[in-house]
Symmetry: D2
Subunit: 148 residues, 4 copies
């Protein structure tokens, strides 16, 4: 991976900070590299489904955001990022103290970036992969009115 | 679709009520039929991404839940439902006053149910489809300790 | 669906005729409408997997092609179509005398078209859905050197 | 990865040999390990789409088969494997002399195995990834009448 210049890192972190949904679920940025972003989120009862696990939609949201910023980190300064599709395979129930999502760009196309995302549950000292995502991120130009 | 007996409807609604994540996003049940469930959710700023639209993960969560209960409505009484995978195509940004997700069972297998989900944004009087989901729901027997 | 002009229909049929893979599997065009294309393929032993069913990859190929031409039917004359991703849920084993794939455009975007595909197996007089696809088709401009 | 016993390797190779679709596309087994299978296929004009690239359905077929046998290599002797779903992101057009698909099991569940597949195009001396797959493989017991 090429080194990330400080402006791009700041841009990703500021765009993350504007995501109110990330505040709602208590997510934070662990690391930002060129084409790879890592986010974390603590367990919270208010995010659970009927069996007491974190809802698959929340796991997806964390991972989609990690992938989106991984893509944004490789985009030109005047572009914005928009998810066009993702698929998630849920490997194990989302139980644990903390959840970490790692998004990486697999194919940095000029119009479309393909990302691979992984989510891990940390439970006590152990770490287990709970989800696998593939996603397409569109490079939106400024004529759309969107900005990141 | 066959008629839904009242016990199954109650079971779906009670399982929905145990999902704290649904309370957090303000979701409610619009209708429960055999193999088809409809949920709704109002717009809320705390669920937005950086451009002010509802986060794709939240749209996914609503739709996954609609599909999951559509599947549960066709399962034996002693089974629980678990999502094994889903894919979402995001058709338009999630902007509007209210969002409605409709989940339907396309293939009610004995072990695996395949569902099709659609999410619509209501904006003023207009309604527009914003997401398309396909999902696999596993029929879990009671030996897993899970219950719905 | 708007009516399809004869030039667009001819363009789709000619592009189909250039797909040698379609000849190899014995596929033919059943119908072309604006945003909806139907293809058919007879059973052939040389396309089977180890249990004697048509291979999932062949089912996918037929359905991807139906979706691709459904998208092409709505594109400007100087554009070419390229699949960027698809997902297939296999609902039942592909056994039967003939297989019919129906591809439809769900969201005709300017850059990306989202399609829904269904494949049916015909066995004697009965018809059964065996696969469900969602796909993204990119609108490629002529600067890429591609043509349809 | 644990070592693969010779009986399991033979079983995978024999099941592969029964796939007439693999003969039709000229595919062969490069390697079989516990949870990881590699297949190869030469370029052939009869497998091309309208732009002269190998059809996405053929790329998918090769990758699905690699993933299926990767899953089978970890299954009990009396089980058969059946793909329930896959998603493919097409990263680059499939042009080259030879195509290699690598399927690996990411999550070896008792009922469902989740696999990650990658397809590479070899062109002259260069190698490039052209597709990324995630897939679910069901463990079928003998009561279904299926065998591998």
């Amino acid at each position: 991976m090429p080194a990330l210049d400080p402006r791009t890192e700041r841009r990703c972190r500021e765009s993350f900070a504007r995501q109110q949904a990330m505040t709602t679920i208590g997510a934070s940025v662990l690391s930002v590299a060129a084409g790879a972003v890592e986010l974390a989120m603590p367990f919270s009862e208010k995010l659970t489904q009927q069996h007491g696990f974190i809802h698959a939609g929340i796991v997806t949201m964390l991972c989609d955001t990690a992938c989106g910023f991984a893509a944004l980190s490789l985009m030109p300064e005047d572009a914005a990022v928009l998810t066009t599709e993702f698929k998630v395979n849920l490997l194990s129930p989302a139980k644990g103290d903390r959840f970490v999502a790692l998004g990486r760009v697999v194919r940095p196309g000029r119009k479309l970036m393909v990302c691979l995302g992984e989510v891990f549950a940390e439970d006590g000292g152990r770490r287990k992969q709970i989800a696998l995502m593939t996603a397409s991120m569109m490079v939106m130009d400024t004529s759309t009115g969107l900005r990141d």
